[in-house]
Amino acid sequence: MSDMKQLYQEVILDHNRKPRNFGAILDANRHAEGHNPLCGDHIKLWMNVLDDKIESIAFEGEGCAICKASASMMTGAIKGKAVQEAETLVEEFRSMATGTLDPDGQANHLGKLKVFAGVKDLPSRVKCAILPWHTLHAALHSENSVSTEGAADPVPGAEIGGQ
C-alpha cells in the first residue's frame, strides 16, 4: 500500500503537470497512436529514427496522470537510444508494471522509471502506465495504432469503469 502512495509522488505529478517532449514532430518518420477505449487515455507518438537510433521523440495525449507521466518519462528515457535499447526498456517496463520484474532485485535499465513499480498492485491502472510503451513498440514496428483492449490486453479482466 505504501507503493500506492509512492505512485503519486512528486515526480509523477510533476510530469503530469509539465509533460516533457510534448507536441507533434511534423517530419517524423515513425508515428503511432495508442488508445484505451475504456478510460479515454489517448497517446499520439512521433519519432525520427536514423541509423537505428531514436534521434527525436515527442507525444501528445489526453489521459490520467499515470498515463501522461509515463509517456513523458518514456520520451526522456528513449531519446538518443538505439532501437534495440528502446525495445529492451519496453519489455522491462511491461514486466515491472505487471509484477514479473522486481526493479530493485533484478538487473534492469529502468532507472527513474522505477517510480511506476507501484502500479503492479493496481491491476486496473497497469494499462494506464503501459499504454505509451505499447504505442512506442507499435511505432518502432510501423504499426499505426494500438489498443489496450482485446488481444493486446496486458491484464485481462482488469477493466475499469463498468457497472
Binding site: 479515454g40 489526453e62 490520467c64
Partner: protein, 414 residues
C-alpha cells in the same frame, strides 16, 4: 438541506451498520468507506446466515425429486418467488422469473418477445441514459431483424426530454426499453407517465430497475409496465440472481429463451412441449441458494422499510450534493430534479481514475469510468466520471470523508 434533519429516528444507523460485517473492514489501515453501492451493495449478516443455513441443511436440486431435501429446497425456492412477487406487488408469483441478473432478464425479453414480435422496419425506443445492458441487446435485435433503434434525448441536467419522447412514437413503434433510474447520473425517470403514453400507442414497456429496486418501494400495478428487470446483488443479495417480472399474458405468448431441463413438459425427438410460466423461462438448475438469499434480503429491506430507505438516502444525497456543489473546481454530472443517491462528478484537471486511486489510499471506495454507459459520457463530453453512490448504511460522516478526500486530490494536483 440541514444535517440536523437526518432521519435518525426512522433509521437506526448504528444498528444497521452492525448488521453488515464488511462495513467493519479496514482498507489501507483506514475504515472502509463504501460508496460504490450502485455497482453492488453489501450483504447483511442475516443474508449471509441464510446462505450458510441453506447450504448446511437444506440444499438439493429442486423440483421432481421426492426426498426430504429436494422438497425442502423446492419449498424455500418457491417461497422466495412469492417474496419477490409481494416486493413488486405483482398479481401472481408465476409472473416472477428468476434469472442471473438484470442483463439476463433484458436479454430474455429481447429473445422471447423481441425476436417473436418485432420485425423488419419496426422501431424500438431506448433512452440516452441507458446502461449498455439496455442498449446492446436491442441493437442485436435491430441488426438481426432490420428494425430501427430510436433514442430519447436528454437535457444537460440528465433529464429525458418528454416532448421528444412522445414525438418518437409512430405506427412502427413496437417496444420501449427504459431505465427506471440512471446508474451513471442518478436520474429517476417519470416512468409511470412514460409507460402510460406508450400504452396509448399499444407499445409494451420494459423497465430496467437495477438501480431502483433497492432504493424505493415498487408497485407493478401502479407503474403498469409490462416487464421489470433487476438484480439481487444491488439489493443486499448475492450475485448470480436476478428477476424478470412480466405480465402473465405476455410471458405466455413469448418463445422460450433457453432450452433444457425444467422448461419442458415432455420431450420426444419429434416434438417438445414447453412448460408453463415461469418454468418455461427457467431452463436448467436455477441459482437456488441465491434466490433464497434474495428472498431473505427482501425481508431485511422490508424490515427497515423501503420508504425509510428512500427518505434517508435522499437526505444523504442532498447533503453530499450541497457539500460538493460548494467546492470550487468540482462539477456534478447529473443534476436532475428527481435523483436517486448517485453522485457522478469530475474534478477539474484530474482524470477520474486518479481520483479513484487516491481516494482508495484512504479506504474510500468509489467507481470511476464510463459506468457501462458510454453514450452518457459522450453526451456530457467526458471520457469518464467519478461516481459516489450511497446506500442506507452510509453516513454523513462518510460523506465528510469523501469531501476531505476530494480536497486532498485537488491539493496533490494543484
Amino acid at each position: 438541506m440541514k444535517v440536523e434533519r437526518m432521519n435518525i429516528e426512522r433509521i437506526n444507523i448504528d444498528q444497521i451498520r452492525s448488521d453488515f460485517p464488511i462495513l467493519g473492514l479496514q482498507v489501507s489501515g483506514k475504515p472502509l468507506v463504501y460508496l460504490d453501492n450502485a455497482a453492488s451493495s453489501q450483504m447483511p449478516q442475516v443474508v449471509i446466515g441464510r446462505i450458510v443455513r441453506y447450504q448446511t441443511a437444506e440444499h438439493s436440486n429442486i423440483h421432481r425429486a421426492v426426498h426430504y431435501l429436494s422438497e425442502l429446497a423446492t419449498k424455500e425456492f418457491e417461497a422466495a418467488r412469492v417474496k419477490v412477487q409481494h416486493f413488486l406487488k405483482a398479481k401472481e408469483s408465476r409472473e416472477i422469473i428468476f434469472t442471473r441478473g438484470t442483463t439476463e432478464s433484458i436479454n430474455l425479453v429481447m429473445h422471447g418477445y423481441g425476436r417473436a414480435f418485432i420485425g423488419k422496419g419496426d422501431e424500438i425506443i431506448v433512452s440516452a441514459l441507458e446502461h449498455h445492458a439496455n442498449i446492446v441487446p436491442w441493437q442485436m435485435l435491430v441488426e438481426e431483424k432490420g428494425a430501427l433503434l430510436r433514442v430519447i434525448p436528454m437535457n444537460d441536467a440528465g433529464e429525458l426530454l418528454i416532448d421528444e419522447f412522445e414525438a418518437l412514437f409512430n405506427a412502427k413503434t413496437k417496444f420501449l426499453a427504459l431505465s427506471h433510474v440512471s446508474n451513471a447520473l442518478g436520474t429517476i425517470n417519470p416512468v409511470k407517465k412514460m409507460v402510460a403514453f406508450a400504452h396509448k400507442h399499444g407499445v409494451p414497456v420494459l423497465l430496467d430497475g437495477a438501480q431502483a429496486a433497492p432504493h424505493q418501494a415498487l408497485d407493478m400495478q401502479d407503474l403498469d409496465c409490462d416487464f421489470y428487470a433487476f438484480s439481487g446483488h444491488k439489493m443486499c443479495g448475492p450475485t448470480g440472481i436476478g428477476v424478470l417480472y412480466g405480465k402473465a399474458h405476455l410471458l405466455e405468448k413469448m418463445q422460450p429463451f433457453m432450452g433444457g431441463g425444467d422448461m419442458i413438459l415432455s420431450v420426444t425427438f419429434e416434438k417438445t412441449k414447453y412448460n408453463v410460466i415461469p418454468s418455461k423461462f427457467e431452463a436448467g438448475t436455477p441459482p437456488i441458494m441465491a434466490a433464497i438469499a434474495l428472498g431473505e434480503a427482501i425481508d431485511y429491506l422490508n424490515g427497515i422499510g423501503l420508504a425509510n430507505i428512500e427518505a434517508y438516502e435522499g437526505e444523504l444525497l442532498a447533503y453530499a450534493t450541497e457539500q460538493v456543489s460548494a467546492m470550487p473546481g468540482v462539477r456534478i454530472i447529473g443534476t436532475a430534479n428527481k435523483k436517486a443517491a448517485v453522485m457522478s462528478f469530475e474534478i477539474k484537471g484530474v482524470h477520474p481514475h486518479d481520483v479513484g486511486t487516491i481516494l482508495n489510499i484512504d479506504g474510500i471506495a468509489i467507481r470511476t469510468g464510463h459506468h457501462c454507459a458510454q453514450p452518457v459520457m459522450q453526451r456530457f463530453h467526458v471520457p469518464a466520471t467519478a461516481r459516489a453512490s450511497f446506500a442506507f448504511y452510509n453516513t454523513k460522516q462518510e460523506i465528510d470523508k469523501l469531501i476531505v478526500g476530494i480536497r486532498k486530490v485537488q491539493e496533490m494536483f494543484s
